[in-house]
């Protein structure tokens, strides 16, 4: 595009771009990866502002509106209005929208108290009608009359953070142990690799459930959260360590490592500062693609009711309500948390795939 004369005239263009800049440019060109990234930014923002965006508290039960269908807002004149839903039949809950009885949707409305960022007590919610006769249930309600949309938002705090914390734990452990294993070799290497093989030869969920059983069943949700992260990381580090070990084996023969050793640097410094940074592009791609594993791990554990306990919300324990096939057919909105999981995993896969293509300079 630009002629050689242009580049010499422009001092900025003469400066060679760093590998990270090149990586970033390649990533920017991948539409799906960027879409995935933006979806994730949105989801994490929702999780951070869950209390504000959610119209009601995740524990609030509306005992007059079990299995309420999703509220459909519409435009009337200059207002966005929601109708009141009237129960037609009590047994199988059937509701009908009263089009003549509507209330306008208001923004920054007062509702259930919550703490913004777990710190600031407030009652201001993003939207609502401000009246208990006209609640807004965007995704309907569950068998206890709780707002599924609000619960998904509160649940996303668990599901979305568990992936990041889990990755941080298992990948730092995996990198470090793999680095040590590959760098030292010999008996240390054999021992660590046998341990990895052992962990990897037990089918994942069997090991996860056995590990979970070693702790009392009725823990508080905070404890269970930590426990799930630790258990999933305890299994996750093994595969990471194996790959990092393989990379370290070849890296340690390279000249820059020899130079570092000749300079008399301590071993840990060589591993942490000289060898491991060279594995980073692989690690970032692998990390993005493994986040879903942690999210799904929590979902399965909570679904089998050994994870996050009611009334606290998580995407897994919300799906337990969908276990009843009869309910599921009459009230399909019970699957909404499943859709949330799907969108999140899809976004991570899009981003991870794009990162891998952008990191792979050879095939271009």
């Amino acid at each position: 595009m630009s002629s050689p004369i242009d580049t010499t005239n422009n001092p900025a263009a003469r400066r060679p771009r760093t590998p990270w800049q090149l990586f970033w440019e390649r990533l920017r060109r991948r539409r799906f990866a960027m879409a995935g990234a933006w979806i994730l930014v949105g989801l994490y923002a929702f999780a951070l502002f869950a209390g504000f965006v959610a119209p009601s508290d995740h524990e609030r039960q509306d005992r007059e509106r079990f299995f309420h269908p999703p509220t459909i807002p519409r435009i009337q004149g200059w207002w966005l209005v929601v109708p009141r839903y009237e129960q037609v039949k009590a047994g199988p809950f059937v509701y009908k929208a009263r089009r003549d009885d509507v209330k306008p949707v208001q923004f920054f409305v007062r509702g259930d108290p919550y703490k913004l960022f777990w710190l600031i007590p407030t009652r201001v919610h993003f939207f609502g009608t401000g009246e208990s006769t006209h609640p807004i249930f965007l995704f309907g309600t569950d068998q206890f009359g709780r707002d599924i949309f609000s619960r998904i938002l509160y649940g996303s705090q668990v599901s979305l953070s568990i992936g990041l914390v889990g990755i941080a734990l298992s990948f730092s452990a995996g990198m470090f142990i793999g680095g040590i294993s590959g760098y030292f070799g010999g008996r240390t290497d054999t021992l660590i690799m046998r341990l990895c093989e052992l962990i990897m030869s037990i089918p994942g969920l069997y090991l996860i459930l056995s590990l979970r059983a070693t702790f009392p069943p009725n823990l508080s949700s905070t404890h269970v959260y930590l426990l799930i992260v630790v258990i999933l990381s305890f299994i996750g580090w093994a595969s990471m360590a194996r790959v990092i070990r393989g990379m370290t084996l070849s890296l340690r023969e390279r000249q820059f490592v020899l130079a570092a050793r000749a300079l008399g640097l301590p071993t840990w410094r060589i591993i942490v500062r000289h060898i491991l940074p060279n594995t980073l592009s692989y690690v970032i791609v692998a990390a993005t693609l493994s986040v879903p594993y942690y999210i799904l791990g929590e979902v399965v554990l909570s679904y089998l009711s050994v994870g996050i306990q009611e009334p606290d919300a998580s995407w897994g324990n919300m799906l337990t309500a969908a276990q009843n096939t009869e309910h599921l057919q009459s009230y399909p909105w019970l699957l909404a948390p499943g859709a949330a999981i799907f969108v999140t995993v899809l976004a991570f896969n899009f981003l991870g795939d794009g990162l891998r293509d952008a990191a792979d300079t050879k095939s271009n």
Partner: protein, 322 residues
């Protein structure tokens, strides 16, 4: 070849030993045992509990228990299920078979669909077929098994075409041989399809990229230059070499398959090992837990073993290197 098989086989022993030891250690760390629930039962005297615990060596330290277990296991006795009051081997037999059946059916479906689609996508690279397959692969990779299994149950319930969960109908025993077989297949289809859907995507993408790699090789160009037909080049020259690396993938995919089977079994009420493990854990029936985990691991390492042998059989370089 035989020395390779033998060598690989001896690799299995330390793994199974290690897994049983690890599971035993975990179960010993678990609070309470099967008899803890009986402690509050006024009909059971503390004296009786002491006797019962002594009978199953539960009063011993865990490593002593482990040696008792190992001694029996080597004689084919995997312990006694306290909840079901029968030997664990009796319970595991049919469950292991069910899990094996489910995994086998899922594997057959996966490969029967993934290989042709992968080949098709590679041959028609960058066409709408390729994009369509890539889209399907992305959906398959991203849809969680929990959600898919629930959707399958909903589908079965709404249409009535398939039974809602279970492995056989309640009238199974009264049916004739052929009808029993049809009944089992009818129950198997939906769980197998759900399980297959998740591993399908990975294998399809792998097949596509392998075939694309081989199609770039020099001997393929040479074959084309000779004037061979495109079909002959792809299916006779390139495909054979492209399939080889998939055998390794087969070994790797087994772990995911068994974990997936665990989810599918528990949601779709398929009476397999995973369901038994969960039931045993809830009942604190630890001998049964150890037995099921060891069996599931056995299934996994046996699958890996077969994959290794197949790989060595198809690629002489591997068996000569060892």
């Amino acid at each position: 070849m035989w020395s390779f098989v033998l060598k690989r086989f001896t690799h299995l022993i330390p793994i199974l030993l290690g897994v049983s030891l690890l599971t035993f250690l975990l179960m010993s760390m678990t609070p309470g045992d099967y008899y803890t629930a009986l402690e509050n039962n006024p009909q059971v005297t503390p004296q009786k509990l002491v006797e019962l615990r002594a009978k199953w060596h539960l009063d011993q330290p865990w490593h002593v228990q482990y040696f008792y277990w190992l001694k029996n296991a080597l004689q084919g006795d995997l312990g006694y299920s306290m909840a079901y009051k029968v030997p664990a081997t009796e319970l595991i037999g049919s469950r292991l078979w069910n899990t094996f059946l489910l995994s086998l059916a899922a594997t057959i479906i996966t490969w029967a669909v993934a290989l042709p689609l992968g080949i098709w996508a590679a041959v028609k690279k960058d066409s709408w077929v390729d994009r369509f397959c890539a889209g399907i692969a992305f959906l398959g990779l991203s849809i969680p098994e929990v959600l898919l299994a629930l959707l399958a149950l909903l589908f079965a319930y709404a249409t009535g075409w398939f039974p809602v969960g279970g492995a056989q109908s309640s009238l199974h025993d009264t049916l004739s041989g052929w009808e029993q077989f049809r009944d089992r297949c009818h129950h198997l289809i939906l769980p197998a399809v759900v399980l297959a859907a998740s591993s399908l995507a990975g294998i399809m993408r792998q097949m596509r990229s392998n075939l694309l790699d081989t199609l770039r090789a020099d001997y393929v160009t040479a074959a084309r230059a000779k004037g061979l037909s495109e079909g002959w080049v792809v299916y006779k020259h390139a495909l054979r070499n492209a399939i080889n690396p998939l055998l390794t993938i087969f070994g790797y995919s087994l772990a995911g398959l068994l974990s997936g089977a665990f989810i599918v079994e528990n949601i779709m009420a398929w009476p397999g090992l995973g369901r038994l493990t969960l039931e045993a854990l809830n009942a604190k029936d630890y001998p049964l837990v150890v037995a099921t985990v060891v069996m599931a691991t056995g299934l996994l390492v046996a699958g890996n073993f077969i994959a290794d042998i197949l790989l060595a059989w198809s690629d002489p370089r591997i068996r000569l290197k060892e």
